[in-house]
């Protein structure tokens, strides 16, 4: 044993150099492999990386925190100046996070409003005459920019509207949504919520909470749907049919009637026919629908259609029968009169298609 030990101690310089050399080469090879093939994470475990999702969430949080701080500073000292608009990761106004809905009576109204917005047929079913929900056209529960977000709508009412030639409060505006987009005449109650109804109060609470920190009466970016440039070729429903089959039908169905899941819940809303919006809804205008579609559809692939495709497919969708315009019915107008009074814009109202005239009575209410 001691002999062996002694011999080890007496290794020649040459031998030690050889060991060192081999060791160096070995380390070099390992190092090269690690560097070239990015293997360090397998040795040390993955480095903590910030994903884009986390970065975005951080920006959103920081914007709201800054708002709170600046508000407080201004309260304490006027010379600190008013708070800035909270700006989210994509440069638009940043609404508060859902977890920050206050835990009080107002917060309860906000939550109820949010539920009505998401599941209109369940939570305001008395006034819903079709199978749509607010959130079908105002995506991400009314938060998404360029999808007519509620935080940009509520700050711009009261306002004069050419549609009904009067000053509209936000309640009047929501009344219009129920009457036309939700086809309230076909609802169990036969109309939109009556003035002062709790449905308005809850929805307005939700909108107002979303807009907490937004500028009043400001045409902020992301408001409404984008106004698309006129297409190069006139919009054409025939071309739109192919766009629809290629991009929309997998969700909304070739017949445009949407699809329910196994719970019987509409996952993809019907786009025309008796269960969709009526001839008075803004979405029946080709230009409005084109703007919405371009910026928001297909879900998960916004802005993937060309301008032309968006116009064409909007034309296709809006050239089918749908529930009658309540103004035409209520005012006892014939189709031509209603067209003259209310349809001087880009739509298919009163036009003949497949032997039927689009507009009055084209779709039985059910």
């Amino acid at each position: 044993m001691s002999d062996h030990k002694t011999s080890k101690m007496q290794r020649s310089t040459r031998r030690r150099l050889a060991y060192a050399g081999v060791g160096a080469v070995g380390l070099f090879i390992v190092g090269t492999l690690v560097a070239n093939y990015d293997l360090l994470p397998y040795v040390t475990g993955p480095a903590p990386q910030t994903s884009e999702a986390e970065r975005s969430a951080q920006i959103a949080r920081a914007a709201r925190t800054q708002l709170d701080e600046q508000r407080k500073a201004w309260q304490e000292d006027l010379s600190a100046g008013p708070p800035k608009l909270p700006i989210g990761p994509r440069g638009y106004y940043q609404p508060p996070h859902e977890d920050d809905i206050p835990d009080d009576e107002f917060g309860d109204a906000v939550k109820r409003g949010r539920e009505i917005f998401l599941n209109t047929g369940t939570n305001a079913g008395e006034f819903a005459g079709n199978d749509l929900a607010c959130a079908n056209c105002h995506l991400n529960t009314g938060r998404r920019p360029n999808s007519a977000p509620m935080w940009a709508a509520i700050t711009n009412y009261p306002a004069y509207r050419g549609k009904n030639k009067m000053i509209n409060t936000i309640e009047d505006r929501v009344n219009g949504c129920f009457t036309y987009s939700m086809n309230a005449p076909a609802s169990p109650s036969g109309g939109p919520p009556p003035p002062g109804h709790q449905v308005y109060k809850d929805l307005e609470s939700y909108f107002s909470w979303l807009a907490d920190g937004n500028a009043l009466r400001e045409d902020v970016p992301g408001r409404g749907y984008p106004a698309l440039e006129e297409p190069e070729q006139d919009y054409d429903r025939e071309r739109g049919e192919q766009v629809f089959a290629d991009n929309c039908a997998v969700c909304h169905g070739l017949n445009g009637q949407g699809q329910k899941d196994l719970n019987g819940r509409y996952i993809f809303p019907p786009l025309w026919g008796p269960h969709s919006y009526n001839w008075g809804a803004g979405m029946h205008r080709v230009n409005t629908a084109a703007g919405f579609i371009k910026a928001n559809m297909p879900l998960g692939r916004p802005d993937s259609l060309s301008n032309q495709q968006a116009w064409d497919v909007a034309a296709y969708i809006n050239s089918f029968p749908r529930p009658a315009d309540p103004r035409q019915v209520d005012e006892g107008l014939d189709l031509d009169e209603a067209k003259e009074a209310y349809h001087q814009h880009k739509d298919y109202y009163g036009e003949a298609r497949n032997g039927a005239t689009l507009g009055k009575g084209a779709t039985p209410r059910s």
Binding site: S7, R14, A18, Y19, V22, V25, G26, I29, V30, L33, Y37, D38, L39, P41, Y42, P46, Q49, S51, E52, A53, S56, A57, A60, G88, P89, R90, L139, N140, T141, R143, R144, Q242, V243, A245, D246, N247, A249, V250, C251, G253, L254, N255, Q257, Q259, K260, D261, L262, N263, R265, I267, F268, P298, L299, G300, R301, P302, S304, L305, S306, Q309
Partner: protein, 290 residues
Amino acid sequence: MRTWITPGRLAGLSALAVAGLGLAVLTYGQGEPGSAEPSDEPTEAATQEPDSESISSPLAAVYFGQEALRASIELAGPLVGIGTDRDWACGTCHGYGAQGAENVPRLAGQSAGYITKQLHDYASGRRQNDNMRYIAEGLSAEEMAAVGQFYSSMNTSSTAKPQLNGDLERGQELALEGDWNLDVPACYSCHGSSAWGVGQSFPALAGQHPSYLYTQLAGWKAGRRNNSPGRLMHSVASALSDADMRSVADFMATLPAPPARQSTRLETPAPERLATSAQADSQGGSDEHE
């Protein structure tokens, strides 16, 4: 003893050991495509745009759903492993309750059109998997449809469990609300309010095995899988981080599995024909702009 260990031999052995170690580390690093190891490195397939032939009608699943309704379900028996001792019955890998395991997906309660379409895609190579290609190439269109119908009407409770250390809260957020900063809609907004699937085209995710779901998401992101209608899943998966994919895959494993389907008719009308060349052109075109 002294004579055996010469510097030369030692050097040679060390070099061999180092080379072997290096090789081992390399293989570990690349992993097999099915492994649940994080691998963000795009494979070669990622750079390949699917050629026009590899994109079929986005309504293929609805079309095949129609075929499945017409198929006689008795055809499926021997194929799935009932009353047969074939080596390659579906049940051999997917389980006789079609509950699946790990990277082998659960099939019970999945829509017939979706299953049938996947079999066609395996056979044509549009969806890549050597085992499944071998199986699917041996099936007639009618047999595929029968197998789809068989599994869609099967009732099996979930055997899946979270296993990828995902953040279940984040997974739930993605499932219920999505992440709109990334243009990721809620999973539920297409796969249904219980993630039991919608119609023929949108498969059930609830009760699916996390490593299978994770592998598919990673595959879409990397371009290894590209047979989703309108490339919808490609867009969604590309926006998800590795952690998000693990989170959402784990979350789905916490949900009750879809019940058997008893469809006697389609939820939405089927196209008369399958492929549309205009579709291939327009899709190819728009992808290039991304």
